[in-house]
Symmetry: C2
Subunit: 349 residues, 2 copies
């Protein structure tokens, strides 16, 4: 078992990582609280005993396309119909869609009820379950509505990964590799750095408990310093401004999020190299690491380059219509730039 603490400004909470944790889930939850489980129909099928052991359960449809107003309203109404009270507890059992929706429902219903994240995908275990970002998508873009709302705790069981499709493992690894490229921004503590570990790892035989622990520790370190994305937290978006545009252009259908992030990181590395921020050696190292885990599909951006730039500008972290880019500047380190010329961006597309 591995344990760590997030010290966010609004709340301190523990993250527990353990193989088989879910079998003893009740030991990790306050006994005297009424619990409301929110999960999806795929998990209900895969883990029928677990899901049916909760009296109050709300099952939503599996898929990013259900991360919308309609499902949010459904969850809120189900919670209210079952007479949820402020002192009750919401459990989010699922990937990022369930976690983000359940988290925002917890933040909003009765103006705030406590909730516990139980992420079941590698992507949500290393990323979305930690840090308190909740919300859902609108027709204008992803996660454009939500709240910063920290969970009571995060419970991670690596056994869930056994039923996860390979492509879903890879999308999680996309974020893991990202952490290795920003590890020095996140923390000085080399014990939680990822790059050396990933360099030496056998890509066919990964120790997920270790990978998750280091990823989450790096993220927790950033969130503890900047809960609401006022500054430092932006480094977590490395690769993401490019990735969001790729996802938008392909209607979020062609690639997983991790694939888009891996492709986005490659574009960011190329751009950095063209601008002389990094040398050829680091560029090659980065491409090799991404390719070692086979994370970035080869893809030629088919849309008009001006349109691509416009999509980048519609990102919610945009300020005064300037594109904010996180670019690598040295090994394990990135910086935030507001002044990259559009022509330079177009060159790498």
């Amino acid at each position: 078992m591995k344990k760590l603490t997030v010290n966010a400004k609004t709340k301190n909470y523990d993250i527990t990582i353990k193989e088989g944790l879910i079998a003893e889930i009740l030991d990790y939850l306050q006994q005297d609280k009424k619990k409301f489980l929110i999960t999806n129909n795929t998990l209900e099928k895969l883990y029928p005993d677990l899901v049916s052991s909760f009296e109050n359960k709300i099952v939503i449809k599996d898929g990013e396309e259900y991360k919308n107003f309609e499902t949010f309203e459904f969850i809120i109404n189900e919670l209210l119909k079952r007479k949820i009270e402020r002192k009750d507890l919401i459990l989010a059992l699922g990937g990022g869609v369930v976690g983000d929706l359940a988290g925002f429902a917890a933040a909003s219903v009765l103006r705030g009820v406590n909730f516990v994240q139980i992420p079941t995908t590698l992507l949500s275990q290393v990323d979305s379950s930690v840090g308190g970002k909740t919300g859902f998508n609108t027709k204008y873009g992803k996660n454009l509505i939500g709240a910063f709302y920290q969970p009571e705790s995060v419970l991670i069981d690596t056994n869930f990964l056994k039923t996860l499709p390979v492509r879903e493992i890879k999308t999680g690894l996309g974020e893991v590799v990202k952490y290795s490229f920003i590890e020095k921004n996140c923390s000085d503590d080399e014990k939680i750095h990822l790059s050396k570990y990933l360099d030496e790892a056998d890509s066919n035989n990964l120790d997920f408990k270790e990978i998750i622990y280091r990823s989450v520790a790096l993220k927790a370190s950033v969130v503890s310093k900047d809960e609401k994305e006022a500054g430092l937290r932006a480094v977590l978006n490395f690769g993401h401004t490019f990735a969001h545009s790729i996802e938008t252009i392909t209607n979020y259908k062609k690639f997983t999020h991790g694939e888009a992030v891996a492709m986005g990181m490659k574009l960011a590395f190329e751009l950095s190299y063209n601008l002389n921020f990094i040398n050829k050696e680091y560029l090659d190292y980065a491409f090799n690491l991404i390719d070692k885990f086979n994370l970035a599909p080869v893809y030629k951006i088919e849309c008009d380059k001006d349109e691509y730039i416009n999509i980048m500008k519609s990102d919610k972290k945009v300020s005064n219509s300037k594109i904010r880019l996180v670019l690598p500047t040295s090994k394990g380190e990135v910086k935030i730039f507001d002044n990259i010329k559009e022509d330079d961006i177009k060159k790498v597309l």
Copy 2:
């Protein structure tokens, strides 16, 4: 001009009260920010020049029945369609419906954009615009979804009261009189106490600037000590548990909120007297003060008393299905009780 500061845990902000403030509104708003005005169609008709002076305006229908999911979704989509950014400013021009909806939209869109409350009714000027409670109604009850989200500032122009119907003035006075009954819980500062002022006031010739200032100062004092309703803030609900039941039974149509609160306070005073918490002299004083402003319509509760009790139990501040009541215990002071017998409550209905 009168000015005071709310020192909430998450934000400090100013409240400015001035006759004619709206004519110089732009002086009170940061010049360099892009502004999004949210208001309703009644105000658009009454103040066409003011509303049309804003380039980005979102006009919702006037009425409590529009304080729902649909209008919330409409506002969010309008903000996103106009490409709102995190550093922009939302202005809520209207009564409680506009303020609560716009405030929750500000809290949620892009996970949080600053907003300014410009309350136009007496009720919102003395109550809902201050303290950061935002949200909307669902079919299961009022304000069951929302956020605690403080505004950047509150701008109160008493001139708006000139176009307000008498009954709307009275609903505001219901809350004003409530503050006088809880003033000692709110603050030791007698300069902002209301009871002596209201005792001497001419009910046909009120100094609204003074009334609003004292009411808001009392509320600000409570919110500064307890932003998220963990304890003290509950005293602000004096009269409200009874009032919410009366409003639910009558489908929110028969009485204004202030009328229901005035009736609710009378029930609370009677109950307190029956339980020997207060003497006959204070009971008579309270009834006389409420009647001096002609606030509480005479109404016999027509529904079954058990049903009434059940409705009281469905209040969102309920804990473990116990009815929490705020009852007067001495002049200007109330206490919170969780152990009042249902039979005692039924006697006053």
